[in-house]
């Protein structure tokens, strides 16, 4: 299951708003981006936050987003500008 994402995969951040400690920024939920780097596997922070061991480890990816689309043109950026966030596999869906 963890092999479904690769560098170059187009992904959507899950459009969900669960309670509890989360490391996926609110502004990215439901947004589309591109995986540009795979960092390996890391303990799940949503479990670590409650004193659990964070296992199983999750694949962590750097995902690139276009500023223009992410903010629907509302911000201070140039056409080429981008942003990235580091997202665990459980928050990603293939587009």
């Amino acid at each position: 299951m963890s092999d479904q994402f690769k560098v170059g995969s187009k992904v959507r951040i899950t459009n969900a708003y669960p309670p509890g400690h989360i490391r996926t920024p609110f502004f990215l939920r439901g947004k589309e981006g591109l995986i540009i780097r795979h960092f390996g596997k890391y303990p799940n922070p949503e479990r670590l936050a409650y004193g659990l061991n964070g296992l199983p480890k999750l694949n962590l990816y750097q995902v690139l987003f276009d500023m223009e689309t992410t903010w629907r043109g509302d911000g201070s950026f140039a056409a080429k500008d981008t942003l990235t966030a580091d997202i665990y596999e459980t928050w990603l869906e293939l587009v």
């Binding site: 708003y17 669960p18 309670p19 509890g20 400690h21 989360i22 490391r23 920024p25 609110f26 502004f27 922070p45 670590l48 936050a49 409650y50 004193g51 964070g54 903010w71 911000g75």
Partner: protein
């Protein structure tokens, strides 16, 4: 309901930056040092994510007003109680003693 953590603020409207430099006070340095020691090996009392979760769970009014290291020391207190390293009663009683010792009467 769309839950949004109080600390998750990317993209919200805010005013200009204050770029002045600040030399950390001794209180701030000690809070930082204690936090690192309690979290690091060999103690590993809690993970940094537990720290974050505790800070995010402070009363919203407290969270908004508190300074940076004030949030840290409040979280440290909660986690020390949660992990049964200290009790709330002994912290309160120590706090009284410290105040009566240090505050000008």
């Amino acid at each position: 309901m769309k839950n949004r953590l109080i600390s998750d603020i990317g993209g919200l409207p805010e005013g200009p930056l204050d770029l002045s430099e600040h030399e950390p006070t001794m209180t701030e340095r000690r809070i930082d040092a204690m936090m690192m020691l309690l979290r690091a090996k060999p103690r590993s009392f809690w993970a940094s994510d537990e720290n974050r979760r505790t800070i995010e769970s402070l009363e919203p009014e407290t969270y908004k007003k508190a300074e940076y290291y004030e949030k840290w020391v409040l979280a440290m207190k909660e986690l020390l109680i949660e992990k049964a390293i200290l009790t709330e009663a002994e912290i309160e009683s120590k706090l009284k003693e410290v105040r009566s010792r240090m505050e000008p009467s």
